[in-house]
């Protein structure tokens, strides 16, 4: 396990109440300030693993350590971006983005100030007083991301955040996400179904086998992203090799 792993997953297994074994013996380290992806066939336990790291569900065996402390519930250093957005339908964008701070008891003026800044960063400034139902799927996801950024957690857990947006929006998001990481030094753990997305974004790709999920391979794409435009990266030999390598492994699971 790498020395500066901010999250360490040790021999984690999860069997749900009904007897479904979702994960077994999963061990991995997630490096600080990097983007790691969880990739694997549907039902292999990606969401389960993410929620165990978030402290939302307890593992049946093994343990998770975050910043040198054993996880026994959610914590301020972890924030979550939900696949179905999980926005309050009766609250406008501003309150939704500030909601994490509201729960922590931050005074109104202060939390709205932080929220406005985050809303601007995800490009939704003119929608502060809109309600979720007035926004497109992509815009809702940005609200979810802004809410996670507003609490200033070191670790951001994202469950298929781009699965409900079209390809153009998705690519734009990916750019924005990389930009964000460069600036904020966040550790991101990202669940996706897309091999291209994983290869394009990640510093580390964790491939999970079908249920019960175990780590089948960890790949560290060595793609030079510095200052290059996206299309150039997508033609990069390393990038194409990684995509192919992942495909060769996932192919066996179909």
């Amino acid at each position: 396990m790498s020395a500066d792993a901010i999250v360490e997953v040790k021999e984690v297994g999860k069997t749900y109440d009904g007897g479904v074994e979702a994960l077994t013996g999963v061990s991995l380290g997630l490096p600080r300030g990097r983007l790691s992806t969880l990739l694997g066939p549907s039902g292999c336990g990606k969401t389960t693993l993410l929620k165990i790291i978030a402290g939302l569900i307890p593992p049946s065996s093994g343990e998770v350590w975050v910043k040198g402390k054993k996880v026994d519930g959610p914590g301020p250093e972890r924030a979550f971006v939900f696949q179905d957005f999980a926005l309050l339908p009766w609250a406008n964008v501003l309150r939704n983005v500030a909601f994490g701070l509201e729960l922590r008891g931050t005074p109104k003026e202060q939390r709205f100030e932080v929220a406005r800044k985050q809303i601007a960063e995800v490009g939704l400034s003119s929608f502060e007083s809109s309600y979720p139902h007035q926004l497109s799927g992509g815009m809702r996801q940005r609200v979810g991301l802004a809410r996670a950024l507003a609490v200033d957690a070191d670790i951001i857990l994202m469950d298929e955040p781009f699965s409900s947006v079209d390809e153009q929006t998705r690519r734009k998001f990916q750019e924005e996400l990389l930009e964000l990481l460069r600036h904020k030094q966040k550790t991101v753990i990202f669940v996706t179904h897309s091999i291209e997305e994983a290869a394009y974004l990640s510093d580390q790709i964790v491939l999970l086998s079908p249920r019960p999920g175990t780590v089948s391979k960890i790949i560290h794409p060595n793609i030079d992203r510095g200052g290059r435009d996206p299309d150039e990266i997508r033609r990069d030999k390393n990038y194409l090799d990684v995509v192919d390598e992942i495909w060769q492994i996932l192919k066996q699971y179909i």
Binding site: L56, P74, F80, D84, A86, L88, L103, Y131
Partner: protein, 255 residues
């Protein structure tokens, strides 16, 4: 918008529908089948007479009293209990079966029993309202709490919300629309309860007007009394429905 104006507005249609209904009533009432069925015009005149001589307003004063008290009690105890059932497994465990039975059972059959136990006073009438209205109010509150989007609850927990915040900021706002709908349905049941109570238990208020005028064969008056309670109930429920749509538009209800 343009298309709508060409087919005439919904209000015009509604008025037409009423006109047709009253017209048919008029014709049916003049048909020489039964003189116990008065035409619309005679019924309407009787209604005006009963308003003028004060007998109708007086009847409503005594009818609405137990209704208002009963619904008030239900909205405090019933909603409270429904919320308790939704939040606590223990309360749910021992009371859910009872309320499922109560909701399906023809509760009107309980009314003679209530008279037997509590006599013919105000208490009995209030109880008649409560017995009919409470199950739907309790069940709606319970379902409102239970149907909270689990993803929102996880969101609240992951952002370090306490259980108290979870209830106040997520679960209750989420349930508010269903709870309100429960009150509206409860009120509709309450109207049924109070009319049955006044016909079966104590001849007072509107029930007394109906019984009395039918016994002396004043059929227009009897029909006017019946029609007035139907119209009052329908208008009240309709107004509540509109208020509900205004307070909780479907898009912000969150389900």
């Amino acid at each position: 918008m343009e298309q709508r104006s060409r087919i005439a507005s919904p209000v015009v249609w509604q008025l037409l529908s009423f006109a047709l209904f009253f017209g048919l009533w008029e014709v049916a009432g003049r048909w020489p089948i039964s003189f116990a069925f008065p035409p619309f015009s005679k019924t309407f005149m009787a209604l005006l007479r009963m308003i003028a001589d004060g007998s109708l307003p007086k009847a409503y004063l005594s009818t609405l009293q137990p209704l208002v008290i009963g619904i008030f009690l239900c909205s405090i105890a019933g909603i409270g209990f429904g919320i308790g059932m939704g939040l606590s497994r223990a309360i749910e465990w021992f009371s859910l079966p009872i309320f499922i039975v109560l909701q399906a059972a023809p509760m009107a059959a309980m009314i003679p029993l209530i008279t037997y136990m509590y006599g013919i006073g105000l208490t009995s009438k209030v109880l008649a309202v409560v017995v009919l209205a409470a199950p739907v109010i309790v069940m709606n509150s319970y379902k409102g709490i239970r149907n909270t989007n689990p993803s929102l609850i996880q969101m609240c927990r992951v952002f370090l919300g306490t259980r108290r915040q979870e209830v106040i900021k997520i679960i209750l706002p989420h349930a508010a629309a269903l709870i309100f709908a429960g009150l509206r349905l409860g009120l509709a049941m309450g109207f049924i309860g109070i009319v049955i109570a006044e016909l079966l238990i104590t001849p007072t208020g509107i029930g007394d007007l109906i019984t009395y005028h039918s016994s002396v064969a004043d059929y227009p008056e009897m029909f006017a009394a019946i029609a007035s309670i139907i119209v009052l109930a329908a208008l009240t429920i309709h107004a509540l429905e509109r208020l509900e749509r205004k307070l909780f538009p479907p898009e912000i209800r969150g389900s």
